[in-house]
């Protein structure tokens, strides 16, 4: 080893020798100061010195030191002609900066020079650097050069393989940038390249392209199958690529995975025959070998792992084909044998693959034979990773015939299971019991048992679901109420049990009231005995139960009113509880005897829909994945959230029903967003001052105007006027609010804050504090920085409160920020648009709505509205000149989402049809909803 960097070695050795963290820190700080002074010094450093210091910085960065200098020196190293210096420069940048760094701009030109350099090693360094840090700007200025390098006949293999993966990076960061179209056949042809590493990296690129749209890539299937066959039969040169007697295992894995993206080849087609032949040889070979013989030195674990990695993908292809029963059953049996292996990795692998096989009807029975072994694996394996796989498999294995056995086992294991797996288990048990129950009373038993055994891990969704099911199934209501009553009688019961009990007794308590053990009085006392131990939200729920009792059981009505009147409740410090109590009391004492029964009539059946639990399970299992799936997960989270939201809305509704002015409104409004619920207007018997502040619907309307404008008036009443100025750059918006005091009185205690309840993951909001005093006719300003982290649907809320003339005033207004604020213009020509449009045809990515025009259709007005929403209206794309075709890019913190829109007005019918295609399904949906509600 050439020891050209003695200073570096000494430094590292000294760091290693330090005895304590403090000593290490001290040594590092000394070195940092030294390097800083060297960089700043008058003496110019030569390449060698710069290289040495940059290496030291790299090392300190690895130790966890925040390195905020040295970038310029690295950039000057990149410009050097010496390979070793250039390499260090690039390395430093690759490690230290990311795609959002400003340094990107400084190095783009140098990278471009290197890409075009005749020295191919320089080209490779530049490619690797782009692959590590490339973002949108690099995509824009470099994608073309990288693409040329990939397909040029002059490029050598070691350039091509890097170019393919670099291009993949740029494509992922900004799909719109790549005019792949014309190059597609040349990229596909690289699948036949004699160099296996070129094939490996081109496959990764094609995999991503095909995932977006398989159209135009059909010829890949035959090529991939042929390549697999040649690897299996070793018809081609494999020098350097045979790994423990397996031919290029990683390439085989990629090829097999690639085949799973395409629709299965038609039965009896040549492709089908060819692929089955390859799969047969892979499965057959594995099935005919002993599991592993330690005495055989030829068969190292490496061999088996690599073979099984390939086997795994081969079986996945078989599952994808959904035929070839004999091979599937053979694989199932082979995996069954693996279950008893001594190697943990092998058991993990077998369980994981069997989970997929269990979902197929062909192999369900073959897998089921191992049920007992799998149960044992769940309860006896030493490793949580393996237990998780066993749990997944049991979940997939479960059907009507064995649900009781499996659920019993799971419940039993739940009592001793690891904490980190419990929540998942609870969720899965709840879903299995619901999916396969032949008898809902059994289902209720299971859920109550879950709450008893692992109450802390029972999420809100689980108990919401049991309440929904009991409400919808009249024949189980009696039983459910009885058992939950019994469960509540136990002195120790979980708060979740109190919630279920509170809800069910409130709705169905009368069904068991004839039982002398469960008279209304006893039910009431039972709930009250739990009241003090519960959290405020549960207490609020119990108060709803009490008012329902007052309605159901006249004999205890006065008792309940007395409870409501108690100081402890009617002056409770928790506003929610206090408000409920006061409202419920007014409701109970309402002069019109029909009001309470109407308000508190039995809850209607819940709408049937996919269980929110299933969505949650999927969300969990897909938590890890690429962009497309992240979007899917995001959508599912939305479902869960919406369910929860709806649930809360229901509770809210119960509360609101007590306000007659509100209860006269159609139900749709009550379930709607805050902005749909009117502020308390009209005569009301109830004290409304404690109503939570609500945005006035007209004012909400004002905020919607900001879909089309950045500046304007947001709010105005007799005292206060609020104006808005918004400026947006990429995913950052800066909103300036101007508050004007219109009155002749000074405003004091002025506060203004923006908050978002369900949007913490999608928006980051930072409001500067605002001055507390506002003189008559004066104005003050507040700056709010908004960062869009992810696409969002719900607007945040702006809450303003102040005192004027001794009166507290409040206003709650929708904050004028919509996802289209982060929409940047993007121009493209007709062929590009059509190509993009086709690429985004995967289901889910498109969102379409047909809707009635709110105003008479006027082409010029529509165009300007689209433009003011941020879309780039493209001319000459649609053959029908009446249609609007638009493009744009939504900037979020995590990604940039290309947006395509086609808006087709129909003047005769005064209708529109809007079709969105974007690279993210939630974006399509949200934008489509916005457009449909504003034209």
């Amino acid at each position: 080893m050439p020891d050209d960097m003695r200073g570096l070695h000494n430094f590292i050795a000294e760091i290693r020798a330090t005895k304590s963290k403090e000593a290490e820190e001290k040594r590092i700080n000394k070195e940092l100061a030294n390097i800083r002074s060297k960089f700043k010094g008058d003496k110019p450093l030569d390449g060698y010195q710069k290289k040495k210091y940059v290496c030291k910085l790299l090392f300190m960065f690895l130790l966890g030191e925040d390195i905020d200098f040295g970038h310029m020196e690295a950039i000057s190293l990149v410009a050097s002609n010496k390979y070793s210096e250039k390499q260090i420069g690039y390395l430093f940048l690759s490690v230290m900066i990311n795609e959002t760094s400003d340094f990107n701009r400084l190095i783009i030109q140098q990278i471009k020079n290197d890409l075009l350099d005749r020295n191919e090693t320089h080209v490779c360094l530049a490619l690797t650097c782009i692959a590590n840090v490339g973002g949108r700007e690099m995509a824009e200025s470099l994608a073309g050069d990288v693409q040329k390098l990939l397909v040029s006949p002059d490029s050598r293999s070691f350039v091509k393989k890097k170019a393919a993966l670099t291009l993949l990076r740029l494509y992922r960061k900004f799909p719109e940038i790549l005019p792949v179209g014309e190059y597609t056949p040349r990229i596909i042809a690289l699948l036949d390249d004699p160099d296996l590493s070129v094939v490996t990296s081109v496959l990764a690129l094609l995999y991503a392209l095909v995932q977006a749209d398989t159209q135009g890539y059909g010829s890949c299937v035959d090529r991939a199958i042929a390549r697999l066959r040649r690897l299996q039969t070793r018809e081609e040169s494999l020098e350097g690529y045979v790994y423990y007697d397996i031919a290029a295992p990683w390439l085989q894995v990629k090829l097999l995975r690639f085949l799973q993206v395409f629709p299965a080849p038609a039965p009896d087609s040549r492709a089908r025959e060819a692929v089955v032949e390859v799969l047969r040889s892979i499965v057959g070979k594995a099935a005919n070998e002993p599991v592993r013989d330690k005495r055989n030195k030829q068969q190292l674990p490496q061999y088996f792992n690599a073979r099984n990695a390939v086997l795994y993908e081969a079986v996945r292809v078989l599952i994808h084909l959904e035929s070839e029963t004999d091979l599937l059953v053979e694989s199932s049996n082979l995996l069954g044998r693996f279950l008893s292996s001594k190697e943990t990795n092998l058991r993990y692998f077998a369980l994981e693959l069997m989970s997929s096989l269990a979902t197929l009807s062909f192999t369900h029975e073959a897998i089921k034979r191992h049920q007992e072994t799998v149960v044992n694996a769940l309860t006896q394996e030493k490793d949580i990773s393996v237990r998780r796989r066993a749990l997944d498999l049991l979940y997939n294995l479960c059907g009507k015939s064995n649900v009781r056995v499996i659920v019993r086992e799971l419940l039993q294991y739940l009592q001793v299971a690891d904490y980190e797996i419990r929540e998942e288990m609870v969720l899965k048990i709840a879903v299995l019991a619901e999916l396969h129950a032949d008898d809902y009373s059994w289902y209720v038993d299971v859920i109550l048992q879950l709450i008893r055994v692992a109450g802390d891990y029972v999420s809100e969704e689980v108990w919401h679901r049991v309440v929904q099911i009991v409400t919808n199934q009249p024949d189980v209501q009696d039983y459910a109420t009885k058992v939950v009553f019994d469960a509540l009688c136990s002195p120790y019961c979980h708060e979740t049990m109190v919630k279920v009990g509170g809800y069910l007794l409130g709705e169905f308590g009368h069904l068991i009231a004839n039982n002398p053990r469960a008279t209304p009085q006893i039910q009431l006392q039972l709930l009250l005995s739990k009241f003090s131990m519960c959290s405020p939200s549960t207490r609020a729920l119990l108060l709803s139960t009490l008012v329902k009792f007052a309605n159901l059981f006249p004999e205890i009505k006065t008792d309940i009113e007395t409870i409501f009147r108690s100081n402890n409740l009617s002056r409770n410090t928790d506003p929610e509880i206090q408000q409920r109590v006061i409202e419920y009391l007014s409701l109970s004492q309402h002069p019109n005897p029909n009001v309470m029964p109407t308000v508190l009539e039995e809850m209607p059946k819940f709408k049937e829909r996919e269980s929110s639990l299933l969505a949650k399970i999927r969300e969990k299992s897909e938590g890890v994945s690429v962009d497309a799936e992240a979007a899917k997960v995001a959508r599912q989270t939305v479902i869960v959230d919406r369910d929860r939201q709806e649930r809360e809305d229901r509770e809210e509704r119960e509360a609101r029903r007590s306000n007659p002015a509100v209860s006269q409104q159609p139900q749709a409004n009550l379930l709607g967003d805050l902005d749909a619920a009117p502020a308390s207007t009209g005569p009301s018997a109830v004290n409304t001052t404690s109503q939570p502040p609500q945005a006035n619907p007209e004012l909400a309307h004002l905020s919607r105007a900001f879909l089309f404008q950045n500046d304007g008036k947001l709010y105005e009443d007799a005292i206060l006027q609020i104006g808005v100025k918004t400026s947006v750059k990429n995913n950052l918006a800066r909103v300036a609010l101007y508050f004007g005091n219109k009155s002749g009185y000074p405003i004091t205690n002025f506060t203004s804050d923006v908050f978002a309840i369900n949007t913490t993951e999608t928006l980051s909001l930072q409001a500067k504090p605002v001055e507390g005093q506002l003189a008559p006719k004066a104005q003050t300003q507040q700056l709010i920085n908004v960062e869009c982290l992810k696409e969002f649907e719900e607007q945040p809320t702006l809450g303003v409160a102040y005192v004027v003339n001794g009166q507290l005033q409040r206003a709650v207004i929708k904050f004028p920020i919509f996802v289209n604020k982060f929409l940047a213009s993007f121009d493209m020509d007709q062929p590009t648009f059509v190509a993009r449009w086709k690429q985004l045809s995967a289901p889910g990515l498109e969102s379409q709505k047909v809707f009635k025009a709110a105003q008479p259709i006027d082409v010029a007005a529509v165009r300007s509205k689209l433009q003011s929403m941020g879309f780039t209206v493209l001319a000459g794309v649609d053959p029908n000149p009446d249609n609007f075709v638009c493009a744009g890019v939504v900037h979020t913190g995590s990604s940039q989402v290309g947006v395509l829109l086609r808006l087709e007005p129909n003047r005769d019918a005064q209708m529109y049809r809007a079709t969105f295609r974007t690279s993210r399904d939630t974006v399509s949906r949200i934008l489509c909803d916005l457009v449909a509600s504003s034209f």
């Binding site: 690895l62 390979y83 490996t200 790994y243 692998f349 990773s385």
Partner: protein, 149 residues
């Protein structure tokens, strides 16, 4: 199918080589230190009889221990665990070939060379090359150039 990060850690929990292939928790240095420490702690707490895979946040972790060195890869859920497990071995064999039975000090003293080897094998989170002669070619070129000068 993608590798999200590659870590090389010693038994005391010191990171000796780290490469990230995507934006993530490591973007802030302080978060990166926490992130690495947590993964390392989890790996160290596992017995040899346990399998080489575990779940951590949104990653699947595949790791292998060689004497006092842990090679830890974070991958997405689509990745084939066994293929990654053997890929780690391929990386170790390559380092071994270059450093002649690699040890922690080799990596520390030749950080840039370890990075070159890694960059030849993984680009943008994808496996690109497993042929050792190909992987070591740029290093050979570099050394040839430096002896000439």
């Amino acid at each position: 199918m993608a590798i999200k990060f590659f870590l090389l850690v010693n038994k005391q929990g010191n990171t000796r080589l780290a490469q990230y292939y995507d934006q993530g928790p490591q973007d802030r240095v302080s978060d990166r230190v926490v992130h690495e420490a947590e993964i390392i702690r989890k790996c160290l707490s596992r017995a040899d009889s346990q399998c080489s895979f575990m779940e951590y946040r949104n990653y699947k972790i595949v790791y292998r221990r060689y004497a006092a060195l842990y090679f830890i890869l974070g991958v997405d859920s689509e990745e084939n665990e066994l293929a990654i497990l053997e890929f780690i071995h391929a990386v170790v064999e390559t380092l071994d070939r270059y450093f002649e039975s690699v040890c922690e000090l080799d990596i520390m003293f030749n950080l840039e060379k370890a990075h070159i080897i890694l960059d030849e094998m993984i680009i943008n989170g994808k496996i690109v090359e497993t042929n050792k002669n190909q992987i070591l070619m740029p290093l050979a070129l570099m050394e040839k150039a430096s002896t000439k000068s």
